[in-house]
């Protein structure tokens, strides 16, 4: 069971308090009607499914109940860092 640092609680907490919420930094378009079918399909369905460092959304469901963003390694499963919603997208170190 992983330990996940909740950026709101500022604590390492057990994984079972959290739930995964898909890839991060995919903002809902402000004016969906302006999008072509292809663009809308891209927003709805296309995800990067990355091997290695991956930007993810997590929810501290049984904790502070906040969604936050994380950079996680999909190979080792481990979290590199977590940060609050609205903060800039974490850069992946080369």
């Amino acid at each position: 069971m992983l330990l996940i640092k909740c950026p709101y609680c500022q604590e390492d907490r057990p994984e079972i308090e959290f739930s995964y919420s898909g890839e991060a930094h995919i903002a809902r378009p402000l004016n969906p009607d302006d999008l072509s079918d292809e663009e809308w399909a891209e927003y709805l369905f296309i995800r990067s499914n990355r091997r290695g460092l991956h930007h993810e959304r997590w929810l501290h469901a049984h904790g502070c109940a906040r969604f936050f963003n994380a950079l996680r390694d999909t190979v080792s499963d481990k979290f590199e860092l977590t940060y609050k919603m609205g903060e800039p997208k974490a850069q992946v170190k080369k």
Binding site: E11, P14, I16, E17
Partner: protein, 185 residues
């Protein structure tokens, strides 16, 4: 003809739990949310002490306020305080940006006490409950097996555990097993 209906928290505590687990009578509980930048003003206007940090709690008279999210508080107090509080929230509504929802009957509360309390909670709760990591006065929402709980520490060996009404028997079942296995009463 119009009489008060009987209150039924639908929780039964086996005799083996005596001294370890107590059910609190019905409390007044509010889920309070306050826009963070209005917190100080709201405290002043309401005289409700909202802790500044997640995981902290304040105690005023017999009123406890837990901060369990960035802008989320649980206020727990006696039944007598309910009417005045409800009136107060009504007055403040529109003047401040906040939300107050009565959840008095949503939760039931248990007082857990005794030397074995942390072990008993750790049967289902994965948090480190050592005094260093979970000092007196700390509160949090967390999980007990598959039931969500709110846990706060009132003393070295005394905790209050809140859970939604329908999850209570599930949790109490674990406590019963624990007490039976470890005390054999």
């Amino acid at each position: 003809m119009l009489s008060e209906l009987k209150i039924d928290q639908a929780v039964e505590l086996a005799p083996i739990l005596t001294g370890e687990v107590d059910l609190l009578p019905v409390q007044t509980r509010y889920s309070l949310r306050v826009k963070p930048k209005e917190r100080c003003a709201f405290i002043e206007a309401s005289n409700i002490d909202l802790p500044a940090q997640i995981g902290k709690m304040s105690v005023q008279y017999d009123r406890v306020v837990l901060c369990i999210g960035p802008d989320e508080y649980i206020l727990i107090c006696s039944l007598a305080e309910r009417e005045p509080l409800a009136r107060k929230f009504e007055e403040l509504m529109g003047k401040y940006i906040f939300s107050a929802t009565d959840i008095s009957h949503r939760n039931v509360s248990f007082i857990l006490s005794g030397e074995q309390t942390t072990n008993m909670i750790n049967v289902g709760c994965p948090l480190d409950l050592s005094l260093e990591n979970f000092p007196v006065g700390k509160c949090t929402r967390t999980i007990f097996e598959s039931a969500e709980i709110i846990l706060f520490r009132m003393g070295k060996t005394k905790f209050q555990l809140e859970t939604w009404r329908s999850f209570a028997p599930f949790i109490v079942g674990y406590f019963e097993k624990y007490c039976l296995q470890n005390r054999g009463k």
